[in-house]
C-alpha cells in the first residue's frame, strides 16, 4: 500500500507540470492583457509598457514560466494584479464560505439522494419509482438559474422566510440565517441528477445473482439492501463523491453571486474578467493538487470498502 502511495505521489509531478504548462500557454494565448485594465483611461504606450514591466509581462516567456514554477514550489503566488492583495490572503478569506456552502450542499444532497435512490430502487417499477423518476427527469431539464431566481423571489422576497442575500463573519449566524436558502436551492439543483445516478447504481446491484442468492437464503430485504447492495453500490457512489470534492473549493458561482456569499466562485469570475493571472494560477494549481490527492484517496477508500480490490 505504501509503495503504491509513493508511486502515485511521484506520478503527480509530471501531471502537475503538464497542468502548469497548459495553463501558462492558455493564459498567454487567450488570457487577455491585464495592462489594459490596470491602465484605466491612461492608455498611452508608455503607461502600458510600464505596467507590463511591473507585472513581469515583458520578460521572456521561459523566464515567466520559471517564476511560475517557483511560485508552485513555494505555494506563494504573490499579489493579485488587480487589487494588490496577497493571493494567499484572498483565497484564505474565500475558502471558508465556499466550503461551508458547497460542503453542506454535498453532505445534505448526498444523504437525501442516496436515501431516495435506495428507496425507489427497492420499489423499482412501482408508481413511486416512476413518479420520482419522472419528477427527477423534469427537474433536470430546468436550468439552475431558474431555481435560484425563482427561489430567491418566492421564498425570500414574497414568502419572507429567508433574507434576500447576505453573509456574516459569524459561522453560527451564517448557518442559521444566510445559508439555509442557498443550501436548499443548491440541494434542489443537484438532487435530481444524483437520485437518477444513484438509483441506477442500486438497480444494477439489485439485479446481480448474489442478491437472488441472499433472498433464496431467506435474508430479510433490509439486510440485503443495507449489508450487501449498499456496500457494493458504494464504489460508483464514492467515485462520484470523491471526484466532486476538489470542486468544493471552487464554490458555487451562481449561488455565491445571487446570495452575496464571498466565496471562491465569485473570486474565480473576477480573476478571469480582470485577467488576474496570479489568482487564476493559484486556484488552478490548488484544484489540480486537490484532484490528484482525492483521486489517490478514492483508490484507498475502494480498498477499504472492498478488500478484494487490488492496488497496483
Amino acid at each position: 500500500m505504501l509503495a503504491y502511495i509513493v508511486r502515485r505521489v511521484w506520478q503527480m509531478v509530471p501531471t502537475l507540470f503538464g497542468v502548469m504548462l497548459l495553463l501558462f500557454v492558455l493564459f498567454n494565448w487567450v488570457g487577455g492583457d491585464p495592462s489594459y485594465i490596470l491602465a484605466g483611461k491612461n492608455l498611452s504606450a508608455e503607461a502600458l509598457a510600464g505596467i507590463r514591466q511591473q507585472l513581469g509581462l515583458d520578460l521572456p516567456l521561459p523566464q515567466q514560466f520559471l517564476i511560475f514554477v517557483r511560485q508552485v514550489l513555494t505555494l506563494d503566488f504573490g499579489t493579485s494584479w488587480s487589487t494588490q492583495q496577497p493571493v494567499s490572503a484572498l483565497l484564505h478569506s474565500r475558502i471558508g464560505p465556499s466550503l461551508l456552502l458547497t460542503g453542506s450542499i454535498l453532505l445534505l444532497g448526498t444523504v437525501l439522494a442516496i436515501g431516495i435512490a435506495a428507496l425507489v430502487a427497492y420499489l423499482r417499477g412501482s408508481v413511486t419509482d416512476r413518479l420520482v423518476t419522472l419528477i427527477a427527469t423534469c427537474a433536470m431539464s430546468v436550468s439552475a438559474l431558474v431555481y435560484i431566481i425563482a427561489g430567491q423571489y418566492w421564498l425570500a422576497f414574497k414568502g419572507g422566510w429567508f433574507p434576500i442575500m447576505g453573509w456574516s463573519d459569524s459561522t453560527l449566524d451564517n448557518l442559521l440565517h444566510y445559508l439555509p436558502l442557498p443550501l436548499l436551492l443548491g440541494v434542489i439543483v443537484g438532487l435530481a441528477p444524483d437520485i437518477r445516478f444513484y438509483r441506477s447504481c442500486f438497480v444494477e446491484e439489485l439485479s446481480h445473482d448474489y442478491v437472488r442468492t441472499a433472498r433464496a437464503k431467506g435474508l430479510s430485504e433490509p439486510v440485503i439492501m443495507l449489508k450487501h447492495v449498499l456496500r457494493n453500490a458504494m464504489i460508483p457512489v464514492v467515485t462520484s463523491l470523491m471526484m466532486s470534492l476538489p470542486y468544493l473549493m471552487m464554490g458555487a458561482m451562481l449561488l455565491e453571486t445571487f446570495f452575496g456569499i464571498p466565496g471562491m466562485g465569485k473570486e474565480v469570475v473576477m480573476a478571469v474578467e480582470r485577467s488576474d493571472f496570479p489568482v487564476i494560477k493559484a486556484i488552478t494549481i490548488y484544484i489540480a493538487l486537490a484532484t490528484m490527492l482525492f483521486n489517490l484517496l478514492t483508490d484507498i477508500v475502494y480498498k477499504l470498502i472492498d478488500p478484494r480490490v487490488q492496488l497496483h
Binding site: 494588490q84 422576497f157 452575496g260 464571498p262
Partner: protein, 590 residues
C-alpha cells in the same frame, strides 16, 4: 441657475474635531461591480472612487446643491488665486485639519499640510506607481517632465525641488503650470487628488490599496475585496456644519430641512455590498436590506410609470410611491459613441467616398429606436461632444444626422458603392465591402448587435462581429486591428476639455481611440486650452464639433438617464453629477 449656485454653500464653521455621527445609524448601499482598492493614485474605477471620495479630501470640492456643478473650497480657506496668465495657482490650507489615526503616526495627531498635497500630486507623476490618472498631470507642471525623466523607470525623487509643485509654507501650496490653463481646478477636485500622508504610504508600501488613511469624513473599517466594504465615521473629522440656502429645486428644500445646522456626517457606519446581479439588488432594496439603489433595467417598467409620448417624463409606480420611496433622476455627464478607425483602409481616411460611407452608416443607425427599446426610453440622443452639465456644452447643436436609410443608400450609390450580384455593396474600386464591428459578449451587446445588423442590412453592407473582453478589444484597437467599436466616456471633471481631447491628434493611440488626426481640429483644441470657459471657447468647441460632424469619425450615441431610489427614512439625498456619493450628507430617520 448661477444665482442659485451662489446661494447654496457649505461652511466649515469651527475646525475642531467633533464626532457628530450616530454610530447606530447604518447606511446600507451596494456597488454594481467589484472595486479594486483605495489608493487614490492607483485606482481609477468608479466603484473604488465612490469609497475614496469619502476617505480622502481634495483641495476643492463641489457644492452639494448647486447646479450646474460649482466648485467650493474643501480643505482650503478659499478658492485659489490664479495668476493673470492662468499658470500659477496658489492654495491656502485651513489649519487644524488632521488625518485619521494610524500606527504610522506613532500615536501623534498628524495635521494636514501643503506638503501632503505636494506629495499626493507628485505620486501621479511617479513612474513606479503607474497612476491611471497620470495623463491629467503629465507635462502640466514646470519641471515635472525633467523630474520624471530623472526617475527613469524607478521611484520619483519626492525630495527634489520642483518648481511646478512648490510648498511655500506649512499651509501654502503653489502649482505652476507649463502652459496657460484656466480650467485646471476641476481636476484637483477629483478623489484621485485627495491628500495622503507620506509616512502611511511608506509604511504600507506593498499594500497601499488596503490602507487608505485620509482626512475625510469616513475611514475604512473592513474590506473584503469584491464582496463587502465597511466605512465608519472618522472620529477626528473636522467640524463641518451644513449651512445652505435652497435653490428652486424642490429637492433642495427637503435637503435643507433635513440637514440645516447639523454637523456632518450624521451616519456613523456605511455597509457597502458588491451586488452584480440585478434581481438580488432590486429585491434587497425592496426588502429594505438596502437603503438606496438604482433601478435595474429589467425593473424599470414596473418601478416607473413612463409617459409613452415622452419617456423621460416619469413618475414612481403607485405601490412604491405609497411606501414613501423617493425617486431622483439626472442625465449622466457622459457620452456614448461608436468610432471608426480612421487609419483603416476601408472605413478610415479623408477622401469623400470614405466620409460618405461613414455618414451613410450614421444616417442608417436608428438611435431613437435603441433608446426606446434598449434604454427603455431612459436616455437622450447625443448631439455634441461635450454633454449637458459640463462646461462648454451647446444644447442647440445637432450633431446626429437625421435617420434616413433611403438617403443613406442614395449617398452610397452616389459615391460608387455599387450593389453587386450577390446583393451586397462593393467598394468604389470594385473590391468587396465588408466591415467588422467589435463588441462585448453580454446579453446587452447582443441586443445592440441586432440593431447594427439591421443597419448594415439596410445599407446592403456585409457586417461581422468581433467579440471579446474589453481589454482584448482595447489591445486590438491599439494595434490598429479594429474597424469600429462602441465606447462611453464619463466626465472625470466637468470641463469640456475632458471630452474634446478625445479627438485631439496627439492623443491618438491613447484616449483618441478613433486615431482621428485633423490639423484644423488640433489647432482649435490647442487654442481652446488657453481660454477660460466662456463664449470665446464655446465658439472654438462649435467649430470642432462641426469638423467632427463633417468628417464623421464617430457615430454619436446617447446619454443615459440615471434613476435612483431611496427609502422614506433616507434624508438629505440629492444626486450630484460629479460626486459619486451623497453619503456624508445623508441622515437616516427611521
Amino acid at each position: 441657475m448661477n444665482q442659485h449656485a451662489l446661494l447654496a454653500t457649505l461652511a466649515a464653521l469651527v475646525l475642531l474635531p467633533a464626532q457628530a455621527a450616530d454610530m447606530n445609524k447604518v447606511l446600507r448601499v451596494a456597488l454594481n461591480a467589484p472595486e479594486t482598492g483605495f489608493d487614490p493614485a492607483k485606482v481609477s474605477d468608479l466603484y473604488s472612487s465612490t469609497v475614496t471620495e469619502n476617505i480622502f479630501d481634495p483641495l476643492v470640492t463641489y457644492d452639494y446643491l448647486a447646479r450646474p456643478a460649482k466648485l467650493i473650497p474643501n480643505t482650503v480657506s478659499a478658492l485659489p488665486t490664479i495668476s493673470a496668465d492662468g499658470k500659477v495657482y496658489t492654495f491656502r490650507l485651513k489649519p487644524g485639519i488632521f488625518f485619521a489615526a494610524d500606527p504610522a503616526f506613532k500615536g501623534k495627531k498628524r495635521e494636514l499640510t501643503a506638503a501632503d498635497y505636494a506629495y499626493s500630486i507628485k505620486r501621479h507623476l511617479d513612474p513606479s506607481i503607474h497612476s491611471p490618472w497620470s495623463f491629467l498631470v503629465d507635462g502640466r507642471f514646470v519641471g515635472g517632465n525633467e523630474l520624471v525623466k530623472a526617475a527613469g523607470k524607478g521611484t520619483l525623487n519626492y525630495d527634489a525641488p520642483l518648481e511646478g509643485i512648490k510648498v511655500l509654507d506649512k499651509y501654502t501650496l503653489q502649482l505652476t503650470l507649463t502652459t496657460t490653463n484656466f480650467n485646471f481646478l476641476p481636476i484637483l477636485a477629483m478623489p484621485a487628488f485627495g491628500a495622503v500622508a507620506r509616512e502611511v504610504i511608506e509604511a504600507n508600501r506593498d499594500n497601499t490599496n488596503a490602507h487608505p488613511v485620509g482626512t475625510g469624513p469616513y475611514l475604512l473599517k473592513e474590506w473584503k475585496p469584491g464582496s463587502r466594504i465597511v466605512l465608519e465615521a472618522n472620529p477626528g473629522f473636522r467640524k463641518l456644519v451644513f449651512n445652505a440656502t435652497p435653490g428652486n429645486d424642490p429637492v433642495d428644500k427637503a435637503v435643507v430641512q433635513a440637514l440645516q445646522g447639523k454637523t456632518l456626517p450624521q451616519v456613523g457606519r456605511i455597509e457597502i455590498s458588491v451586488i452584480e446581479e440585478e434581481q438580488p439588488l432590486w429585491l434587497s432594496f425592496l426588502n429594505r436590506q438596502l437603503d438606496i439603489s438604482g433601478i435595474p433595467q429589467a425593473a424599470l417598467q414596473s418601478a416607473l410609470v413612463i409617459d409613452p409620448k415622452d419617456p423621460l417624463k416619469v413618475r414612481l409606480a403607485e405601490q412604491y410611491a405609497r411606501q414613501g420611496i423617493q425617486l431622483q433622476r439626472q442625465l449622466l455627464p457622459e457620452i456614448t459613441f461608436h468610432f471608426f478607425n480612421m487609419q483603416d483602409p476601408v472605413v478610415g481616411g479623408d477622401s469623400k467616398d470614405k466620409i460618405a460611407l461613414r455618414r451613410a452608416i450614421a444616417m442608417a443607425f436608428p438611435v431613437s429606436e435603441t433608446i426606446a427599446s434598449i434604454r427603455r426610453g431612459q436616455a437622450v440622443p447625443m448631439n455634441y461632444i461635450v454633454p449637458a452639465g459640463v462646461a462648454g456644452h451647446n444644447p442647440a447643436f445637432r450633431g446626429t444626422p437625421k435617420y434616413d436609410p433611403a438617403a443613406a443608400n442614395a449617398l452610397l450609390d452616389r459615391f460608387g458603392y455599387r450593389v453587386a450580384s450577390d446583393g451586397y455593396r462593393t467598394r468604389p474600386d470594385g473590391k468587396p465591402l465588408a466591415i467588422e464591428l467589435a463588441c462585448g459578449t453580454s446579453a446587452l451587446d447582443k441586443q445592440w448587435n441586432e440593431y447594427w445588423q439591421k443597419t448594415f442590412d439596410t445599407l446592403k453592407i456585409r457586417l461581422s462581429f468581433k467579440q471579446g473582453k474589453w481589454n482584448e478589444l482595447s489591445k486590438a484597437n491599439h494595434q490598429g486591428k479594429l474597424q469600429m467599436w462602441g465606447m462611453a466616456w464619463g466626465a472625470d471633471y466637468p470641463d469640456g476639455e475632458n471630452f474634446m481631447q478625445l479627438l485631439y491628434g496627439k492623443n491618438a493611440g491613447d484616449s483618441n481611440a478613433a486615431d482621428f488626426k485633423n490639423t484644423d481640429y488640433d489647432r482649435l483644441f490647442e487654442a481652446s486650452l488657453k481660454l477660460p470657459h466662456g463664449p470665446e471657447r464655446n465658439q472654438l468647441y462649435d467649430a470642432m464639433n462641426k469638423i467632427v460632424v463633417a468628417q464623421q469619425p464617430w457615430i454619436f450615441g446617447d446619454i443615459r438617464m440615471r434613476s435612483t431610489l431611496a427609502h422614506r427614512y433616507v434624508k438629505g439625498l440629492k444626486l450630484h453629477p460629479l460626486l459619486g456619493t451623497s453619503w456624508r450628507y445623508l441622515d437616516l430617520q427611521k
